[in-house]
Amino acid sequence: MDPFKNRQWVVILIIISVGIIFSFRLFYIQVINKDWSDRASQITSKTENIQPPRGFIYDRNNQLLVGAETIYDIYIHPSIIKPKDSSAICKLFNLTNEDFQEIIKNASSGYNVPYKPSVFIESMTQQEHAKISPYLGQINAVFAKSKIDRGYPSQIAAHLLGYIRRIDENQFQNTKAQGDFFYTKNDFIGITGLEKQYELLLRGERGNINYLKDYAGNKIETINKKPPKPGKSLYTTLDIELQKLGEKLMANKIGSIVAIEPSSGEVLAMVSAPSYDPSSLTGRDFSDNFNGLKQNDSLKPLINRPVYNDKYRPGSIFKLVQALIALDDGVISTETGFSCNKNIIGCHNHEKPNNLTKAIKHSCNPYFFQVYKRLILKDNTKSVFQTSREGLAIWVQKIKSFGFGNLLGIDLPEEKSGFIPDVDFYDKWYGKKRWAFSTIYSNSIGEGEIGVSPIQMANLASIIANRGYYYTPHIIKRIADQNVLKKFKIKHSTCVDKKHFEVVVKAMNEVVNKGTGRNARIDSIEVCGKTGTVENKTFNDHSVFISFAPMNNPQIAIAVYVEYGTWGSKWAAPIASLMMESFIKGSLSKKSIEKANKISQAVILNPNTNFK
């Protein structure tokens, strides 16, 4: 007999024990412990956001201001590059061998892995892509993927539209902290202008897709998908043609144009000069161009001057407000006359200002010195300091009803309030009871500490055109199918009664027809305007002009500010005139076109500016 026959049971026992051990182990990892199952779903499934297309922006006639442009990212897939491909890739993209090795290295290290494609050229324009696309098909390892960027068909209104940029770490954390979890680190966000103001509407709603992926991350099977909601389109109040003309006229100059429709407060044009092409702040060249505009340009082209620059002194246009307040206060009548005494305050030679109309027509400085004196020093029984305090306090209140010294509330994030010096300000500056009318009289002609933004100047023109009220200037007329926001339909009245406006309107008409603003005349249209020349100690004075037309049914109110423009009627008045003509008549006459071209070519810059 076989003495070792029983040993079969040892072997069988070993086999069975291995089976038992394996079964327990499998029971543990498959049934008891769910960790591996969770890990499996982490490995296989992926949720990806789907970017909603950003809303478009149109002008008042539904012409596209901001649309979409298809751009291309070029991807490289290192693990499938064949030896013959590398020279073809180098040739196609103009690379040296070292560049190519560098690209492969980048595409295989860090976040990138060689078995997944990664971007190596970002945001190629359509033209660039068209040149290479026929050859791309021959190289498997390189391909293009299209995406949508902002596109600017007419390349205007850069400041007002604003720009978008990839969200930075700070903003990313801020939005998160505010409970807004919309953004990923790759998303773009509005930084300035309308893009910032209406970011929440423009960005739309993100969709997502949940899918099963393979080892390389390729999408294999969709589990569920929520399509994105595109951003809402904005319909602005801008008029493309007017905006274009304004930008043309302001070429080679520093300053602003703001045109408003007085009956609604809609902004028809808003020009900030110098300007830039909005499409330069898109795509791959963003950072180069941005740095060029931000750091290497002393003229600060990124600033939206019409709303942001509130340090402008208004100059003589402020006399209109003084006149209106004085009339309403009863300290003067339309027939009040003063002598043009140049000893008190400088003036130019003109006929005797024996009534208000003449004073406005010739912009007489001593006259308005007297007007302001009557406004401030009302009560002769008290000390001059005390009376000045009381007078100024009332005056400030009234001035503010014209929209000065406060934010108007235009729908642009950059708006600044301007500044009207008040009692507190002078108390701080000089000390209590250390100042009186004689200290602050330069306010009378819009100089001194007063700071006004161009939008506020245009709003003043609008107020006078409306004879006493204004609607908050705004840029958005319609959001998708929802009409203008409620707050833009509220009528704001000034403290001055309607009846006092007529004389000022007449005077403004005189200014254009016979006075300082003759450069603003338009054939067959009655224009009202007021020039301003703002003192500038370093170089030429600044040129200011506010205006509206036609006199009796105003369609447009406008403010033009040309820095270093010498005096009001030299540059600002003709620019305003051309803008109004174009808007009211729909086109410019032949003579005006010539004039516009001439203005457009004129270079008005401060030679003292430090050009880098």
Partner: protein, 443 residues
């Protein structure tokens, strides 16, 4: 001729035949799923992996049929010849250019042959012939030496390729030799060695340190101390509790075992530091759960365990796996070494348990068949192939479920690969043929 055929059919072991066919069929369907790219992808059936696999299965069945027609004595008599022939191929294969770092395959245009798959079969036959020859007695040292060389030569040739997985399978012959009378001590020593090695490697891999009487000592020195303490303790037990006449023998054994333990421990120390590369060390660290390296060396096992675990109780359903089939490829080598993942993922614990039961029943059935032979040759051969299949199964599954470090070794009847399908099929058919003659002859 007709009578003979009938007699084969009557005497063939139907349970084993059915088990084999069942395993092959399940194996094929699992392999199909592992190679499945989704119904949308149109591939020529016969040029796809599952098409080729089916061709190999058909070839195997025909070859099996042919074997059933052969005479058992013919198989026995040609054993040395086939062994020599495959050994020659094993030498020749070392002259071919390496594929994926190993010289294991002869490449032809449409298929490739792996001689190391066939050496297991021919070695089994030769070993059976050697040990069953009249006149050779296993108790003789000469026979043991011959058997040793028969096994060690192909093992070394395979080590040169290198193919450590297949080489490891040769250890299964220790079961065969055990059954034929090799001292059980060898099994125990084997177990002892494995234990010491596992503890030793664990202590090295984890860089364990112990505090002893204020001194910080490294884990393996602590282990040596434990071994010596164990020796002293056992020595004292023998000294006081064993009858004097047995003492000498027991103490001899104790000394041998202790020295063995110490030398294995030292050997592990040396191999771990000097022979292993960082890659191997990392593998062990991952296996012991000391290190997690999802993206690097631990990638395979992490993905495999995720696939197995995600099968849960009842699986995701046939062709519905999301990790281990070719559509997703999260598990690498999913149609060869890691094919069990596909089964575990798509059929869950239930399927896995049935699979293990069926597989091991087949192996036990082979043992039982071997034991009922009057022919020593058939018995030894039966043990050989049961052992070979068992080792393949054990190492492969242990690797996939994270009980052993990653060692490349196919799962018989399941993994993609014509040579393996053919050679494992032939093993079974030869056993069936030899078994069917159990009543006819006495060899």
């Amino acid at each position: 001729m007709k009578y003979r055929n009938l007699s084969i059919w009557r005497n063939i072991d139907k349970p084993l035949l059915i088990m084999y066919l069942l395993l092959s069929a399940i194996g094929y369907f699992i392999m199909y799923s592992s190679t499945f790219k989704g119904i949308n992808i149109q591939t020529e059936f016969w040029s796809a992996n599952y098409g080729k696999q089916l061709i190999w299965i058909i070839i195997t069945l025909f070859a099996g049929l042919f074997i059933l027609l052969l005479d058992g004595s013919f198989i026995k008599n040609t054993a040395y010849f086939t062994y020599g022939f495959i050994l020659l191929l094993l030498i020749l294969v070392l002259l071919t250019p390496p594929i994926k770092g190993a010289r294991s395959w002869f490449y032809f245009t449409t298929f490739s042959i792996q001689p190391s798959e066939f050496i297991k079969l021919t070695l089994s036959l030769s070993l059976a012939k050697l040990l069953s020859d009249v006149g050779s007695r296993f108790q003789e040292f000469r026979t043991k030496l011959k058997a040793f060389f028969l096994i060690i030569i192909p093992a070394l040739l395979i080590a040169v390729q290198p193919d450590p997985g297949t080489m490891l399978v040769f250890a299964c012959f220790i079961f065969v030799l055990y059954r034929e009378g090799l001292s059980g001590n060898f099994l125990l020593i084997g177990l002892f060695t494995v234990l010491i090695a596992v503890v030793g490697i664990f202590l090295k891999a984890s860089n364990s340190i112990f505090h002893l009487a204020g001194n910080v000592i490294s884990g393996n020195i602590f282990f040596v101390l434990i071994l010596i303490l164990g020796f002293i303790f056992s020595f004292l037990i023998i000294r006081y509790f064993v009858l004097p006449r047995y003492r000498k023998q027991k103490i001899q054994r104790l000394i041998i075992i202790t020295l063995l333990g110490l030398s294995i421990s030292g050997g592990i120390n040396y191999v771990y530091d000097s022979v292993f590369s960082e890659r191997h060390r990392t593998r062990f660290q991952i296996m012991f759960g000391i290190k997690e390296d999802r993206k690097g060396a631990g990638y395979n096992i992490y993905q495999a365990l995720s696939a197995v675990g995600s099968g849960e109780g009842f699986g995701k359903g046939y062709l519905k796996g999301t990790l281990s089939n070719d559509k997703y490829k999260h598990v690498p080598e999913q149609n060869t070494d890691f094919i069990f993942c596909v089964l575990a993922e798509e059929w869950g614990f239930l399927g896995s348990f049935i699979f293990i039961s069926l597989y091991l029943s087949t192996l036990i059935r082979m043992i039982l068949i071997a034991e009922r032979q009057r022919s020593k040759f058939t018995r030894i051969y039966g043990y050989c192939i049961s052992g070979i299949l068992f080792f393949h199964f054990m190492i492969n599954i242990a690797m996939v479920i994270g009980l052993a470090p990653v060692i490349g070794i196919p799962l018989p009847f399941f993994s993609k690969g014509g040579s393996a399908i053919l050679s494992f099929g032939l093993m079974v058919f030869i056993l069936l043929r030899l078994d069917s003659e159990r009543k006819v002859v006495l060899r």
